[in-house]
Amino acid sequence: MLAAAACGHRAAARDATRDATRDATRGVTRGVTPGLASAAALARMPWDSVVARARGSTVRWLLWRGDPAINHYVDEWLAPRLAMRYGITLDPVDAQGPAILNALVVEREAGRTVGTADLLWINGETFHNLRREGLLAGPWARSLPAAALVDTASPIVARDFGEDPAGYESPWGRVELALIYDSTRTPEPPRTYEALADWVHAHPGRFTYDQGFTGLAFLTGLMIHLGGGASRFTGPFDSARYVAASARLWDWLARARPDLWRHGAAYPQGVAQLEHLFANREVDFAMSYNENEVVSKVRDGALPATSRAYVLRDGALANAHFVAIPFNAPNAAGAMVVANVLLSPEAQLEKARPDGWGDGSVLAVDRLPPEWARRFARLPADARQVPRDTLARYAEPEASPRYSELLQSDWRTHVRTGTTEHPSAGGDPESRTTRPALRSGP
């Protein structure tokens, strides 16, 4: 009976499209949901009419609200400007990737064709999964006027973990994975993965990585390096490449394991716990998937004043983060206007200030009006940051999200438990039960 009920939900979901049209008509006649028109339809309209539909509306934005610097930017800088210029009320709501997906799945199962969220802050696996599950509206992103300024020549901004956003998400910012060290404790930090391995052996118990997204990015970068570099990981997921490269990663980790913090038997849950270990001298390195975060963390007193960020010469993973519109957004027009404002040179410059959030710009400097290009060039630098030209030189794009997915589950099943048998030693990965996605194809 329970199964029957569940089948009922799915049937309801199948009727979603039909209901959406009906609800949309109803919504417009009642005049309660001013922007109710699909994002794809709006993308074909003149921009002025999108703005007109957005005026006076509320945009509910699901985003990570854990960083005071980001919250300050959103609440104190962005929201007042949206209200003043477009009469848009911004309603930022705390939610992160996996939870966003779970919530949207339930909304669809419940037959909610008019949902609750208008804009989502996502990237990488979350985008991949949302798109695969058909939970995103679009294409719309390329129709934004400010999209013309985006640095589409950069593989980091133009693609999202190797995947073409295809107009289903609009870039917002870019970051690079940096290591953080204490210049008094470690005056000469290792600059390559090989040097890092040597350093780990010479300083037992002083290095570890976290079990969250940042640690996973560190492992992914290491795997890409060991597997021959970023150029070999472009394009769709390659199972053979994963097996070969991950085998080298497991070997590297197995050799490092005895000299890791707690002999590699325990790992901090997330990057915040890693930062805590670093700040309190339990380990000598922290990590951040925002090369400028160290500045705000020092200002907050969460990290020692002598903390510095740097990137390895072997390459540093870089990625862009985006905003997307869910399939059942009640106010797609408002969401598009917000996405457009996020791309404006003014908003991107403010976001990049190291004394604020310090998030990288996604705009191409050569496409900007000269006055704005000059302002970007004059952004103050902080000694704790990675110099901008260094960042650009070593930045390399993320590989297909499937690599991270598999790394995460294989690391959890094998490395974490300290089983000597490596996952790749099992041979053909397709024979393993943790490979259902290969059936449906990534």
Binding site: A3, A99, R262, A266, Q269, N280, Q408, R416, T417
Partner: protein, 286 residues
């Protein structure tokens, strides 16, 4: 009597209503566990159940959770009994002890766990005291009490956290029934020690048992505490469940529902044990 019992039918129905959300949760979890609901549901499949059942880390994590929750519950019970028996008087010391024992009651698990990291961690307050006293020279010199396999920090923290609730119940049990029984025993010539051993402790044990079962359930179910204090391997059950809900690989999220289902079944079993202990305590009362 019959009239009364029949008059209670609406109340019993209400009790069923109270349990309804859990039954609904059970239904949804079951549907998601067999691929009929939830993220990346692709139709009926036993792959989630199969994968979880064959995953040794799940069972080791479950064993660890039961071990740690049992030990923490035992410690908390011992402490609560000690406070209830040791500070029964009306003196200032007795009152102070009873009130102090109750203060941690409203502290939520997430605060207790995050605070425990700052006190018990290898760079925590205790380690700093040790360093100031010259006992250790480096955080690694302090014994690992957090994210450690024996779960010492977890056990100590949640034992401490649950002392207030158990103390409250223990004090109540002694206050309502201890008095007369002890007086009777003493009148019949039992020594203070014999009264304590033969009357007070058994009475407390019976009266306290249902609360002890509840405390075990609460500790075993904590996610925040297990994530911040529990070991990486074996991974505590609640963390293993939550991790699957959030897995990047959508097909693994169905596994999370299998674990939820498992947790619910264990919860049901625990409730049965609870009701058994409660009925025993009740018989003692009447």
């Amino acid at each position: 009597m019959t009239a009364r019992a029949s008059g209670s039918a609406p109340g019993a129905a209400l009790a069923g209503l109270v349990a309804a959300p859990v039954v609904v949760g059970l239904g949804y979890s079951a549907a998601a566990a067999i691929g009929l609901a939830g993220p990346a549901a692709r139709g009926l499949s036993l792959v989630h159940i199969d994968r979880v059942m064959r995953d040794a880390t799940v069972w080791r994590g479950l064993a660890w959770t039961i071990y740690a929750a049992a030990l923490a519950t035992a410690l908390a019970t011992a402490a609560a009994v000690a406070v209830a028996i040791g500070f029964r008087g009306t003196g200032i010391g007795d009152r102070l002890a009873r009130i102090a024992a109750l203060v941690p009651f409203p502290i939520p698990y997430v605060v207790a766990a995050a605070g425990a990291v700052l006190v018990l961690g290898q760079s925590g307050l205790l380690a700093r005291l040790a360093a100031a006293a010259g006992v250790i020279h480096d955080p690694s010199g302090f014994p690992p009490l957090v994210l450690d396999r024996p779960g010492l920090g977890f056990i100590l923290t949640f034992a401490w956290k649950e002392v207030p609730f158990l103390t409250f119940v223990a004090v109540s049990v002694l206050a309502t029934r201890g008095q007369q029984l002890e007086e009777t025993a003493r009148t019949l010539g039992a020594s203070p020690a014999a009264t304590l051993r033969r009357v007070t402790v058994p009475l407390l044990w019976r009266g306290l048992a249902p609360a002890v079962v509840l405390v075990f359930i609460f500790i075993a179910g904590t996610y925040e505490g297990a994530a911040l204090l529990g070991p990486t391997d074996p991974l505590p059950f609640a963390v293993a469940t939550y991790e699957r809900y959030q897995a990047l690989d959508l097909t693994l999220r169905g596994d999370g529902f299998v674990l939820t289902l498992l947790g619910l079944i264990l919860g049901l079993a625990a409730v049965a044990v609870f009701e058994w202990t409660r009925a025993r305590a009740e018989r003692l009362r009447s």
